[in-house]
């Protein structure tokens, strides 16, 4: 097994100035998911094929345009991991049986949202990970079905309102379910590498991708995708919202490798969750017309009990 590299990058200026994704896609301004992918690509570099599931990032390539210097394949909403298997297998067979030069090999990268990943594609991505498929999975997680107008997804936070879980008198919290813990679901598969990343922490993100790039097998990423459109904030504030997600402890930055979970950025003194909640329209019902201290306290309690295990 290849050794996992340590920290490759220490400062932002060490990141590659090369851009592998050209500006000017039809995605929303300030999309955190796209920003995460852009920084990841700086590390992954050339010879990449992006295998896409139906979602916001499907709009990256609208005929006849592609902002990517790598290859792109749109699949279906639930089949990107399965299609990745076919690409990986085909390239391996061509290199082994038909003498395709190794220089023609591609890094296979799934690009899928949290809806595809946690719902309709969960079975297929579980199977691909279980088979030990040599691929990278980039899940941009904005906690909802963003491309369809922001409906509830299994990743929608408790207490957020979405188009299909509005806050009403009978259901004041809006989304009443606690989100699926994708990190733990994936960790149970014992992948070679698994990490959460935030584009607001580009050094952390880049180091994690550098580690993943050096490994073979399933390498899985959950990228916090601050989503101005679905969450309801000004696109210029993406970095603020993304930073608060980390500083309140709502979005832990961590990685799993060789049997261990390590938090790569411990918030020194966690801010109260409402600092994050109050920045977004999807949580407005927790503050107006009247403050819902009960729901805010429940969210705080979940964050506290998560960190109690590690602090």
């Amino acid at each position: 097994m290849t050794a996992i590299p340590g920290r490759t990058f220490k400062k932002v200026k060490e990141l590659s100035p090369a851009e592998w994704i050209a500006p000017g896609s039809p995605l929303c301004a300030g999309c955190g998911g796209l920003e995460g992918l852009r920084i990841a690509e700086k590390v992954l570099g050339e010879n990449v094929i992006y295998v896409n599931a139906a979602g916001c990032l499907t709009l990256l390539s609208v005929f006849p345009f592609s902002p990517l210097r790598g290859s792109w394949l749109y699949t279906t909403m639930s089949a990107p991991a399965a299609a990745s298997q076919g690409i990986r297998d085909a390239l391996d067979v061509r290199m082994g049986k038909h003498g395709l030069p190794k220089s023609e090999d591609l890094q296979v990268v799934v690009v899928a949202g949290d809806g595809s990943t946690c719902d309709i594609g969960l079975s297929a991505n579980s199977a691909a990970i279980h088979r030990g498929l040599d691929f990278i999975y980039f899940c941009y997680d904005n906690g909802g079905y963003g491309n369809t107008g922001f409906q509830w997804s299994p990743s929608s936070p408790y207490g957020s309102s979405t188009q299909t879980t509005p806050s009403v008198a009978a259901h004041p919290a809006g989304s009443e379910m606690k989100p699926k813990d994708l990190f733990e679901i994936w960790r149970a598969h014992d992948p070679v590498y698994l990490a959460t990343v935030s584009p607001r922490e580009p050094i952390d993100l880049s180091n994690k991708f550098a580690k993943a790039k050096a490994l073979k097998g399933p390498r899985l990423f959950i990228c916090m995708a601050a989503c101005p459109t679905g969450w309801g904030f000004d696109p210029k504030d993406t970095n603020v919202v993304a930073r608060l997600a980390v500083e309140t402890g709502i979005f832990p930055l961590k990685e799993y490798a060789e049997g261990k979970v390590v938090h790569t950025k411990m918030p020194r003194k966690r801010l109260p969750v409402e600092k994050f909640l109050e920045t977004q329209k999807r949580f407005r019902h927790l503050f107006a017309p009247e403050r819902r201290d009960d729901i805010i306290a429940e969210i705080q309690k979940d964050v506290d009990s998560y960190w109690r295990l590690y602090e």
Binding site: P64, L73, A82, L100
Partner: protein, 414 residues
């Protein structure tokens, strides 16, 4: 061993399908089991494991995943084969619609099995016909030999520059999948001459050729362009089939046509059939002829693209034609019947009497008596059809079950 390494062995339909893939020197098989197809992928798994086949066999997690892997591998330059059946084909249908648009060549076998509900095992064609509009080329096999030959022909069609579409080869579950017949296996060298190694005509995924495939498109006109491209490719497959089948016939001495006429020339009564039950139809034709009734049969081998002209030409001047649909579209009737009618509508020389027959559902046999009934109904202009092959004995058999289930009412059937 015969001429050029040719030999004849006894094979089940499933084994013949596996042999087709082996002779095609397939690189990659993503697989998922379903009865009655499983013997195909089990056989291929063993051959890849033993080194009899070179490449990779991957156990997938569903037919949806399996077809996605198959098509993505084809888009990455591998020659791919897989197999499915029934519900599995339906489960993969979203992907099949998607990947025909990718314009990737691969071949798969569908072992026909009737659809749920009620869940059952034996064949009819509702499964394969559910995939009729997704842009696949479809070849329907009558014998174990045809299964193997159609797979080889399938690669020639799928990989042709004018087509670039996946090809489905259909065989009936049980009647063919588990029936042993003598199958001629051509010699390796002769096969390679007919079907050389896969040389993709479309760009495939590899580092030196970055490409965006299956990108989104906006605007109905732009969308239409791509759909028409697919339509033209599918239409072109009829010509490509004819060319490849011509060469196949010269090399191997077995001749295939989009539609196969059987004792049709002077026939007054024609059965239009497909797949393994055509053999029963041909036997019935012989018996009817022995009894002095001029019967004949038209077998549909190429079902997609639909060879409308070939069908109309073959049925030209035949007075009475029964289309036997081994499927049922509830609320409509048989699925193939209207396609045949459409092929005939503007022909002056079309048959005067057309009858829709629905039978063979869930593997229900079509017996000599049924063919007699069809002839008799063809002679009764007052009978508008469709004729449903569900007779007194079927009814009695079912009523016996109803009695066990504690029901007393009469079975209600059309």
């Amino acid at each position: 061993m015969g001429v050029n390494g040719q030999r004849t062995i006894l094979l089940t339909g499933n084994k013949a399908a596996a042999w087709g893939a082996r002779l095609a020197d397939v690189d990659y098989v993503p697989a998922f089991p379903i009865t009655p197809q499983t013997e195909i992928v089990e056989t291929l798994a063993k051959w890849f494991a033993s080194g009899a086949m070179q490449g990779k066999f991957t156990n997938m997690d569903s037919e949806h995943s399996m077809f996605a892997a198959a098509a993505a591998a084809a888009a990455s330059g591998a020659r791919v084969f897989t197999a499915t059946s029934s519900q599995g084909l339906l489960y993969g249908l979203e992907v099949l619609y998607t990947v025909t648009g990718w314009r990737v060549p691969f071949v798969f076998a569908n072992v026909s099995r009737a659809l749920a509900t009620p869940i059952t095992l034996e064949p009819d064609h509702n499964d394969v016909l559910s995939a009729r509009d997704c842009g696949l080329v479809q070849l329907h096999a009558e014998t174990c030999q045809e299964i193997m030959d159609f797979i080889l022909l399938g690669y020639r069609i799928a990989e042709d520059r004018r087509v670039c579409l996946p090809v489905l080869v259909n065989l009936d579950g049980f009647y063919l999948s588990f029936t042993r017949e003598p199958v001629v296996i051509p010699g390796e060298a002769e096969i390679r001459r007919f079907l050389p190694a896969f040389k993709p005509v479309q760009p495939v995924f590899q580092a030196s050729r970055p490409q965006a495939r299956a990108s989104a498109i906006f605007g109905g006109g732009n969308y239409t362009y791509f759909r028409l491209q697919q339509h033209m490719a599918a239409l072109a497959a009829e010509r490509v089939f004819a060319e490849a089948a011509g060469e196949f016939g010269e090399r191997f001495g077995r001749h295939y046509r989009a539609v196969e006429p059987y004792r049709l020339d002077d026939a007054e009564y024609v059965f239009v059939m497909s797949n393994s039950f055509s053999t029963k139809g041909k036997a019935a034709v012989n018996r009817l002829r022995d009894m002095g009734t001029k019967a004949g049969l038209l077998k549909l081998s190429l079902f997609r693209p639909f060879p409308a002209k070939a069908v109309a030409d073959a049925l030209r001047g035949r007075p009475k034609v029964a289309v036997i649909d081994q499927n049922i579209a509830p609320g409509v009737g048989g699925i193939v019947f209207p396609e045949i009618l459409a092929a005939l509508y503007d022909r002056e020389d079309r048959p005067r009497r057309m009858l829709s027959v629905i039978g063979g559902l869930g593997g229900r046999d079509i017996r000599d008596g049924d063919f007699m009934t069809i002839v008799e109904r063809l002679d009764r202009p007052d009978f508008t059809g469709p004729l449903t092959l569900f007779g007194e004995s079927d009814k009695e058999q079912f009523q016996a079950l109803q009695r066990i289930a504690g029901r007393r009412e009469e079975a209600l059937v059309p």
